[in-house]
C-alpha cells in the first residue's frame, strides 16, 4: 500500500499507544497492559480527512530515547536514520494525561531531534477523574506543537487527531526544551562537523548510541569513539545531567499548565486491589488459584465443543468412505489428510480458552504484579521477575515468549529464560497430554470438585514449571554474566480488560494455530500416509501372496484376515521399517515402533503426534469402522501379549518425553534468531533430548 505521509507512534508503555494504533488503523493487534508487549514494528494505514493515506508505524513503548532493552533501541534508530525508507515524516507522541511528568521526558527528547511532532494527550477521562486539570491551549502554546486531547479506549478525539495529522507542518516548529550545547559542547560540535549533522541533540545521541546503530558505517562509529576519547566523554554522567535538565524544563512547563489536587487523595482504586492481589499470603493463593482455574477451564469448558468437532470429523470420514470409490486416492484423502486434520481442529477450543486467559491477565495489569511478586524467587534460580511473563506465555507458545524476553535487560537473565522457556507446557503439548490422560486416567471427581484428569493435567503443568526452574538454577552456575541485573519497572494501574481484544486474541491465535500447524500437519500426514501405505521392494506382494494361502483364507474370518494383512503391511511399510530401526533405542522407554514413528515425525512439531497416531491407526484399522483417535488408541493391543498398548506406564513415559524433548522446529529457529549463534539452540536441543530420554525411562520403570 502506498502512503502519502508516514507517521510514527511513540510513547511510554501503558499509555494506550497500541489501543490508539488499533483505533486509527482498524488493524487490530494483540495488546496488553504489561510493559513491552509491543515488540515488533507494527504498521497500519488510515485515511486522513483530506483523503490522503497515512502509514502509521507503532514503535515499541519506551520511557526514554536511551534504550534499556533491545526493542527500545528500535525507537531511536527509526527516528534518527534520515536515509531509511521507514523514516517518519511526522511523530505522534502519545502522553498519559494522568501521568504527564514522566511522559514528557520522552516528548522532550524526541522533540529535540527536530522531527515534526503532534501530541496526543490520552486518558483525559482518567485525568479528570483524578481531578487533574490541564490547560491544553497554554500547554500547546508553550510546547509550540498541536496538542489533541483524546481517549483512545472510548474512541474520543481520534477524528481531531487525524485532522491534526493532516494539517501537520512539514517542518519542526516546536520550542527547544533544553540547551543541548551545555552538555559536551565540543564533542557535539566535532561530531556534527565530521558527520555533517546540524542537529546538536542528534549528534549527542550518536555519541551515546553509536555502537548499536546499524545505519552508521564502522568507520563513522570508530571516528565517534575516537572523538569521545579525545573529549573524555562519560556517557552516563552526560545522560544524568541531561535528564536533570529535562525534568527542570518539565517542571517549569507543568507549573502553570497543570493543576493537581493539593491534598493527597484517598486510596486509589488500584491501590486497594493491590493490597489484596499482592498480599503476603493471599497474593500467592490467588495467583495459584488463577492458574488452577485456567487449567481446569481449559479442560472442562472445551470438552463439549471438542467432542462436537471430533464427531463431525468421524462423520465426514465415514460418509466419504461410503460415497467415494475405494482406492489409494480415497484412502489418502480420508485416512491421510482428513485424519491428520481432525487431530488439529479438535484442539481449537483449548487454544482459544488459553489465549483468552493470557490476554486478560496481560490486559488488566495483573501480569506485572506477578512479576513483582515472583522477582525474589526467580532471582534465586538465576532468573528475573520479568522471566515470569515468558514462562507463563510459554504455556501458550514458546516462540512469541522467547521473542518477548527482549524486555529482560540483563544478558544472563535473558539467556537463561530463553533456555528454559521451551520446557514449559506449551499449547502444542496440550493435545498430547489430553489424549494420553484421557486414555489412562479415570474420569472421576475427587474431593467433589477436582476432576482427576484435570488434576493430572495440572500436575503436568506444575511439573513443567518446576523443571524449568531447576534447569534455570543449573544454568545460573554455568553461564557467566557481565552486567548487573536490575528491576526498575512501572506497575501500571489496573484496568478492565478490553473484551473485543480478548476475543480477537482468541480468534487470531486459533487461526494462526490452524494455518501454521495445519500446514505442517497436513504435509506430514501425506508423507506418513505414503510411508505407511507402501513398502520397500516386493514386501507387500509377498504379504498378499502369503495370506492368500488356504491355511489363512479357510481358517480366519474375512474381517480378522484383512486386519492381519494390513497390520503386516504396516509393519513392512517404509514407516514400519523406520519405526523398527529406532525401536531398540526407545524400547527401554516402553515405546513400540508405532510410537517410534510418531516420535520421529514430532521432531518437526509436537502437535503432529496426534495426527500421526490417527494416520497410523487408520491405516491399520478397518475402513468400515471409523473411530476417533481416542478409541483407536484405546483399542490398540500389543500383538505379542494381547495387552493394551497404552498402559499407565507407557502413557506417562510418553508424556515425560514430550515434556522435555525439544520437538519444535520453530522454537529452534527463533532461539537462533534471538541469540544469533547456533551454539544456543544446539545446547538447548541436546540438553532437552537427554532430559527427555532420562525422564521417560524413569517414568516407565517406576510405573511399570
Amino acid at each position: 500500500m502506498k502512503a502519502d505521509i508516514r507517521v510514527a507512534l511513540v510513547g511510554n508503555p501503558n499509555t494506550g499507544k497500541s489501543t490508539l494504533f488499533n483505533v486509527l488503523t482498524g488493524l487490530n493487534q494483540k495488546i496488553g497492559n504489561f510493559p513491552g508487549v509491543t515488540v515488533d514494528k507494527k504498521v497500519g494505514y488510515t485515511t486522513l480527512p483530506d483523503g490522503r493515506t497515512a502509514e502509521i508505524i507503532d514503535l515499541p513503548g519506551t520511557y526514554s530515547i536511551y534504550p534499556k532493552s533491545q526493542d527500545e533501541s528500535i525507537v531511536f534508530s527509526v527516528l534518527a536514520d534520515k536515509h531509511n525508507a521507514h523514516t517518519p515524516d511526522l511523530v505522534v507522541i502519545i502522553l498519559d494525561a494522568s501521568n504527564l511528568k514522566r511522559n514528557l521526558l520522552l516528548y522532550s527528547q524526541v522533540a529535540d531531534l527536530k522531527i515534526p511532532v503532534v501530541v496526543a494527550l490520552n486518558m483525559m477521562d482518567m485525568a479528570k477523574k483524578a481531578d487533574i486539570d490541564i490547560d491544553v491551549n497554554l500547554f500547546a502554546k508553550k510546547l509550540g506543537v498541536p496538542v489533541v486531547p483524546i481517549s483512545a479506549r472510548k474512541n474520543e478525539g481520534t477524528a481531531a487527531l487525524k485532522n491534526a495529522i493532516s494539517f501537520a507542518n512539514k517542518f519542526a516548529f516546536q520550542e527547544d526544551s533544553i540547551d543541548v550545547n551545555t552538555i559536551a559542547p565540543e564533542l557535539v560540535e566535532a561530531i556534527g562537523r565530521e558527520l555533517n549533522i546540524d542537529n546538536p541533540y542528534l549528534a549527542l545521541q550518536l555519541a551515546h548510541q553509536h555502537e548499536t546503530l546499524k545505519f552508521l558505517t564502522p568507520e563513522q562509529s570508530d571516528r565517534i569513539e575516537e572523538l569521545e576519547k579525545e573529549h573524555s566523554f562519560n556517557s552516563q554522567k552526560a545522560q544524568g545531567a541531561e535528564t536533570i535538565a529535562r525534568y527542570a524544563f518539565i517542571n517549569d512547563l507543568l507549573y502553570d499548565t497543570v493543576k493537581k489536587p493539593v491534598t493527597a487523595q484517598g486510596e486509589t482504586h488500584s491501590n486497594k486491589i493491590d493490597k489484596i492481589l499482592t498480599h503476603k499470603f493471599f497474593g500467592f493463593v490467588i495467583f495459584f488459584a488463577i492458574l488452577m482455574f485456567m487449567f481446569q477451564a481449559i479442560f472442562s469448558w472445551s470438552s463439549y465443543p471438542m467432542e462436537l468437532i471430533g464427531d463431525a470429523f468421524v462423520w465426514v470420514q465415514d460418509s466419504l468412505h461410503h460415497t467415494l470409490p475405494p482406492g489409494p486416492l480415497t484412502s489418502l484423502l480420508v485416512d491421510g489428510i482428513i485424519a491428520g486434520l481432525s487431530g488439529v481442529m479438535v484442539f481449537i477450543p483449548q487454544i482459544a480458552i488459553l489465549f483468552a486467559f493470557i490476554s486478560i491477565l496481560e490486559d488488566t495489569g495483573y501480569m506485572s504484579r506477578v512479576t513483582f511478586m515472583m522477582d525474589k524467587l526467580m532471582r534465586k534460580v538465576g532468573l528475573n521477575g520479568k522471566s515470569v511473563v515468558p514462562l507463563i506465555g510459554g504455556f501458550a507458545c514458546a516462540v512469541p515468549s522467547i521473542m518477548g524476553t527482549r524486555t529482560i535487560e540483563n544478558w544472563k537473565d535473558r539467556m537463561i529464560t530463553i533456555m528454559v522457556t521451551p520446557l514449559v507446557t506449551c499449547s502444542a503439548r496440550l493435545p498430547i497430554y489430553t489424549l494420553l490422560i484421557a486414555l489412562v486416567v479415570p474420569n472421576h471427581n475427587v474431593w467433589w470438585v477436582f476432576n482427576m484428569q484435570g488434576l493430572a493435567l495440572t500436575g503436568m503443568y506444575v511439573f513443567s514449571l518446576i523443571s524449568a526452574i531447576v534447569v534455570a538454577w543449573v544454568f545460573k552456575f554455568i553461564l557467566k554474566g557481565k552486567e548487573r541485573g536490575y528491576f526498575i519497572m512501572e506497575l501500571p494501574v489496573y484496568r478492565m480488560p478490553r473484551w473485543n481484544n480478548v476475543i480477537f486474541s482468541m480468534y487470531d491465535r486459533s487461526k494462526a494455530f490452524v494455518f501454521q500447524a495445519g500446514k505442517v500437519i497436513i504435509a506430514i500426514s501425506i508423507i506418513l500416509w505414503v510411508l505407511a501405505s507402501y513398502g520397500p521392494g516386493d514386501r507387500f506382494t509377498k504379504i498378499d501372496q502369503k495370506f492368500s494361502a488356504p491355511q489363512y483364507t479357510q481358517h480366519m474370518t474375512p474381517d480378522s484376515l484383512s486386519r492381519t494383512i494390513s497390520s503386516a503391511k504396516l509393519e513392512n511399510s517404509y514407516a514400519g521399517v523406520l519405526g523398527h530401526a529406532i525401536e531398540p533405542v526407545i524400547r527401554p522407554l516402553g515405546f513400540d515402533w508405532k510410537i517410534g514413528i510418531a516420535l520421529i515425525t514430532s521432531f518437526a512439531a509436537r502437535e503432529v503426534f496426534v495426527g500421526t497416531m490417527a494416520t497410523i491407526y487408520s491405516v491399520n484399522g478397518s475402513a468400515e469402522k471409523m473411530q476417533s483417535v481416542y478409541q483407536k488408541m484405546k483399542e490398540a493391543k500389543n500383538p505379542d501379549t494381547g495387552q493394551p498398548v497404552f498402559t499407565l506406564a507407557v502413557a506417562f513415559s510418553l508424556m515425560m518425553f514430550y515434556a522435555f524433548a525439544m520437538q519444535c522446529a520453530s522454537t529452534v529457529a527463533i532461539v537462533f534468531r534471538e541469540t544469533k549463534n547456533w551454539r544456543w539452540p544446539a545446547i538447548q536441543f541436546a540438553y532437552m533430548t537427554v532430559l527427555a530420554y532420562a525422564a521417560s525411562f524413569i517414568a516407565y520403570v517406576v510405573l511399570k
Binding site: 544524568g240 536533570i244 525534568y247 491501590n271 493490597k275 499470603f281 536490575y486 526498575i488 506497575l491 494501574v493
Partner: protein, 71 residues
Amino acid sequence: MRLSQLEVGETGIVKEFTDLEMSVKLMEMGCLPGEEVRIERIAPLGDPIAINVAGYQLSLRKREAYTVVLQ
C-alpha cells in the same frame, strides 16, 4: 537515610544517589533529587518494593533502593 530503610507508608525526599548507573535509570523514571517518594508496598517475599513517585507506581529491588539517599 536510604530509600530502602523506609517503612510502608513513609515518605521521603530524594537527595542524591550513590551509584551512577542506577541513578541514570531511576532519574529517567522520574525519581530524581527533590522528588517525593512514598513506599506503597513490599512484595510478599520481602523484595522488591513498590514506591509512589511522580504520580505513578514504580517497583525496584531493595538493593537498588539502597542507592537512593534521602534528605
